[in-house]
């Protein structure tokens, strides 16, 4: 599956990583530009236009986070994916708070990276969804206007807070929502530290919407960062493309065997996304 017209800017100070990324991206039809510093990336972004930016968080010079802030000052909707390392949880959260669309943890697999890039671009290109349009992802359908959630067309009984959490996550499906963002959205700014509170609710929610709550398919945890609702795309594409759809959302992208488990029939094509 090629991606005609997607222009991607790779910003990383390590030439080896840029070299490893270029061939597969070009092969898959991306137009690739490179920058080794944040300053250089900002110059390129001002002179030409791109569809997505891959931005390393640890770089000499102004660094990833500062570059992100400056990008956001003139391009609020440009998808930016951060390249991070494992133990930089605080940096990840900070980047997300400053408007990064997503992050990938080094060492990442190219498949996972490409899936994230596609999903970020898709979101931006998708027409704006009305506030109370129903959202359907996999077997879960949420109707904001009626405050109704169904699973396999059977209504799921949710408390008010559970519904709010689910709505917050499903309306941003495919993207990680940080703990504090979620807490602020549901309980208000004064509760943004009460992560344990949130966990209890998520546990209850999983019991209601997941087949196997300890092995969730929809309501995924980004350890130390937040929660993310599975991308509708992974249920849509099912067996249709080159890889495993489930792998898209797994932190390591090594879960090809699980693609078989993804139910791909028995439900209507989602209308909410794309």
């Amino acid at each position: 599956m090629t991606q005609p017209g997607i222009r991607i800017l790779v910003v990383d100070d390590e030439p080896a990583i840029r070299r490893a990324l270029r061939p597969p991206l070009v092969e898959l039809g991306f137009q690739v530009a490179e920058a080794s510093r944040g300053e250089e990336a900002l110059q390129l972004l001002r002179s030409s236009s791109y569809d997505v930016v891959l931005l390393d968080i640890n770089m000499p010079g102004i660094g990833g986070i500062e570059t992100l802030k400056r990008i956001r000052s003139f391009a609020p909707r440009l998808p930016v994916l951060m390249l991070t390392v494992r133990d930089d949880e605080e940096d990840k959260v900070e980047a997300l708070e400053f408007g990064a669309d997503d992050y990938v943890t080094k060492p990442f697999s190219t498949r996972e990276l490409i899936a994230r890039i596609r999903s970020a671009v898709r979101r931006v290109r998708a027409p704006a969804r009305p506030e109370d349009a129903p959202i359907e992802i996999g077997e879960i359908r949420l109707e904001p206007a009626k405050r109704l959630v169904t699973r396999r067309r059977i209504p799921v009984k949710l408390t008010r807070k559970e519904f709010d959490i689910l709505y917050c996550l499903m309306s941003r499906a495919g993207r990680v929502v940080t703990y504090s963002k979620l807490l602020t959205a549901v309980w208000g700014a004064e509760s943004r530290e009460e992560v344990e509170y949130l966990r209890t609710f998520v546990r209850q929610l999983r019991k209601k919407i997941e087949d196997d709550p300890s092995n969730p398919l929809y309501l995924l945890t980004d350890v130390y960062v937040g929660y993310r609702f599975a991308d509708a795309q992974m249920f849509l594409e099912g067996s249709s493309n080159d890889g495993s759809p489930a792998a898209e959302e797994m932190p390591d992208g090594e879960h090809a065997q699980e693609s078989e488990d993804v139910p791909e029939d028995e439900h209507e094509p989602p209308k909410a996304v794309d």
Binding site: I17, L21, L25, D87, K106, P107, F108, R203, G243
Partner: protein
Amino acid sequence: MRSGRSHGSGLRVLLFTLECALGVVAVILVAAFTHWWLRLLPVVALLYLLIVVLTALWCGFWQAAVVSLSAVVAQSWFTARQPELAIAANPIASVTLLVFVLVALTVSRLSARVTGHAREAESRGGQMEDLYEFTRRTLQMDLHVEPGPQLAELVHEIFNLEAVAVFDADLHDVYAAGFWNVDPQEMAQNVYYFETADDDPVTGVGRRVVRLGTVPVGSLVVRGDTGPLINNAIASLIAITFDRYRAFANESRIETERRTEQLRATVLDSLAHAYKTPLTAIRAASTGMGEMGHLSAGQADLVGLIDEQTRLLGDLTNRLLTTARLDAGEVAIHVARVSAGTLIEEVVAALKDRLASMKVAIEIEDDDLVLSCDQQLMTMLLTQYIDNACKYSNFGSTVTIRVQVTGAEAIFSVHSIGPVIPMADRERIFDRYYRSSTYADRAPGTGIGLSVARRAAQIHGGYVWVTSDEEEGTTFFAAIPLALEREISL
């Protein structure tokens, strides 16, 4: 030793004789002179008295007594030749003589006492100065080397003693200075073992047990001109110096260990960081190759192998990094309220791949159990335990993860059925780099993980242990206090 003492007393006798002889000669001279020149006769008694007092002042009472008696004898002898002055014939002369003797003795007694006091004060002052000097020198002593030899030399030199022996019980060594004609080793050790403390005025030997508080830490034997009080003081100063040496040695050992640990951690840390970039490039390249397609089955297989091994290397690097930071005390602790259930669920979710071939049972006694802990550290601990259970359990067996409350502690346990851990290994498997000989070639690993688990528990004020036998299987435990009573610190 004895010959030394008799040598000294012989000298003293000689000196005494010489002083007496001088006084007697002076008396005889005065008597003879008076005999020839009779006009001196009325003041002769005063002249004698002068000699006696001077002798008493310079030499001592007994010398003065001898001189005054000699004066009586000399006077009697010379006057016996002059009948008009004979004692027997002249009662006044007898009375004068008697009074003279009494006055002479009294005056000598008094002046000798004054001189004695002065000397004593002088010698005490000297001893105080010596003690002061000794204190000063011990304080300035180089504590990088054992203190015994320096102490023995100092005592010998400062107090001007004939011989000194110091026994350091901790190092079990005797240090001697000066000349001993018996074996100072045995002598000093006997003082320590039999706890004998005494002063022998005949031989001039003082023995002291060197104590710190009530604990004997060594002994001191001296021979020479000191007093019991001075010996006590020396023994105390030696004890203090021993103590300072131990404290100093301990402190420098700890400091050295800390520095080594820090250096090691820094090296590990920078190594792990340096590995990250090449690892990322390799993984991106190998998975990129897979994404580009056009690979034959064999090529795809090899690319998959590269990817898999890179991930292994990545995991190892991460683990090294965490250990290094834990050891260097660089892990920032974030205490938060976390429910035990969440902890276990998240760890199990993260280990989903590895647990794929196992049955997992989670038993949470109290679903509302909430701990004050650092989630990252606790996750590390549980990950390690579960990972360990996966590696070493029999294929297809059940791994049971349990948490229960006992007293003021939450006990996490991970149970699996697998080879028994030998008794001798049960404590050591928590040591860094230790790998049980039974397992070393059975499963991949670095011998780091369980030490991380123990460190994580310790940081929370908890502890870890393991039980293992053929029938019950192997269970790793971690007890974590429910409420952190003290400040968490590394």
